[in-house]
Amino acid sequence: MRFCRVRSVAEAVDELSRWGTEGRILAGGTDVMPQYLRGEQSPAVLIDISGIDGLGGISDVGGVTSIGALVTMRRLATASLIALRHPALSQAAAAVGAWQTQTVATLGGNICTAAATADTLPALLIADAQLTLVSKSGRRRIGLEDFLAGSGATALRPTELLRAVELEPLGERSSEGYLKVARRSAMDLAVVGLALRLDVAPSGVIDGVRIAMCGGDQSAHRVSAAESALLGTRLSDDPGAFGEVGAVLADAVGSAALPEAQYRRRVLPGLFDRLARRCAGEIAGAGA
C-alpha cells in the first residue's frame, strides 16, 4: 500500500482518477484506519486529503450555510454559527464518539462512510443538505437523501471527492434538535437517532415539520408520514399529537433494518416526545 498526500482539490481528483476503486480517501481516518488495521480494507493507496487548504471552512453564502468536507466534529460542535443556525447538527456532532474522535473525524467522512447510524445525517437531512461533488470531469450537486444508498453505500463515484455541504438555516420562528438512544451516553453508536425541525406560525400552528431518523433502516432518511401527522397541529394545546407521531415513526422502522428493530420501535415514541417537547419549549420560550 502507498500513502499519497495531496495538497489541493485538483491534486486529489487527479489521484482519484488515477487509482479509481484501488484508492481510498483518508480524512480523519476514524473509520478507514480501523477497517484497514482489521484487514477489512486493502486499498492500493490511501489518498490523504487532510492537508488540503480550503475544505475546512464554515461560511454564509447568500443565506445558505456552506460547510467544507474537512470540517471536524469538534468544530461543528463548538462553532457559534452552527449552534445558532443548525443546532441539531451541533448536537449531533457532539454525540459522535468522544473528544478524541471529534478532533479528527470530519463531516465529509461521516457523510461518505454513510453508516446507517451516522449521527450527523438526520441533522443534515432536516436542513435539506445539498452536496457538491468534484471530479476531473467537473462538478455535480446532489441532495443528501439521493446520495445515500444503503448502509455504507452512496452515489459517490470512485473518481469523485465530496467538497462541501450546503444547508438551509433555521428560520426565525423555528426550533430544531437531535437526540439519540445509545447503550452509553458517550463513545457509542446510535441505536436510533432523530432530528426534528419545527416551524411555527404566529397563530401557534405548526406550519413546517421536518423529521429524519438514523438507525431505523439501511440509510438515514426523512420520515414524511410522521411529518404529515404533525403538520397543521397546534404547538401548545395538543401534546397528544406527539404520541401519534411517535407511533408513525415506530412504524417507519424498516423490516430489513439492523438487528433489534423491535427495540428501536419501542424507544422511538419516547425519544420523539422528548425531542418535540424540547423544540416546542424553545419556540414558546422565545416568545412565540
Binding site: 500500500m1 464518539g97 468522544a98 474522535t101 478532533t103
Partner: protein, 163 residues
C-alpha cells in the same frame, strides 16, 4: 501491522514534545506505532487498538486524538505532545501533582491518556466544572479508580491553575 501486506514508506516530518523529527513510516502505520517503536516514547499505551478506550491519547496541534487509529502520515507538519512532554525539567505539572495528591493512579495504564485529555481541557477551559471534566473524560476508560479520584484531581488542578 500485518506482516503479509507490503507497505511503501511515507516521509513524515513532525514535532514531538518540541523536538523536530523526520522519519520514514509505513503507509498504514499508526501514530502510536511511530511514537512507541520509532521514537521510543512508550507513555502512550495500546489497549483496544480501535480508538475506543483512550489509553493511546496524545495531543495533535493541541487536540486530543486516539493515536492508535491515526495514520502517522496524516501528522506531517503537525505538533504532537505525549505524556513525556508534560513534566519539563523533572517538575510535574499542576495536573500531575493533583493526580499524586488524590491517588488518581492505580494500575496506571490509562493514566498517560487521561492526563493528555485533561491537559487539553485545562488549556481550553479556564476553570472547568465537574460535568465538563466528566464529559472530557468520556473517551477514556479506567478500570481501577471508578473515575472519582481522577475527576477530583482534575477539578482541584483546575482551581489551582485558575488561582
Amino acid at each position: 501491522m500485518p506482516a503479509s501486506r507490503s507497505e511503501q514508506n511515507v516521509t513524515v516530518r513532525l514535532v514531538v514534545n518540541d523536538r523536530a523529527h523526520e522519519l520514514e513510516a509505513d503507509a498504514g502505520e499508526t501514530l502510536l506505532a511511530t511514537l512507541r517503536d520509532r521514537l521510543g516514547l512508550t507513555g502512550p499505551k495500546e489497549a483496544c487498538g480501535e480508538g475506543e478506550c483512550g489509553a493511546c491519547t496524545v495531543l495533535v496541534d493541541g487536540g486530543p486524538v486516539a493515536s492508535c487509529i491515526l495514520a502517522a502520515g496524516s501528522t506531517n507538519g503537525r505538533a504532537v505532545r505525549t505524556v513525556e512532554g508534560l513534566a519539563g525539567a523533572g517538575d510535574l505539572t499542576t495536573l500531575q501533582q493533583a493526580f499524586v495528591r488524590h491517588a488518581a493512579v492505580q494500575c496506571g495504564y490509562c493514566t498517560p491518556g487521561v492526563l493528555m485529555v485533561l491537559t487539553a481541557l485545562l488549556e481550553k477551559v479556564s476553570e472547568p466544572t465537574e460535568a465538563e471534566v466528566r464529559q472530557a473524560l468520556a473517551g477514556n476508560i479506567c478500570r481501577c479508580t471508578g473515575y472519582q479520584q481522577i475527576v477530583e484531581a482534575a477539578v482541584d488542578a483546575a482551581r489551582a491553575v485558575a488561582s
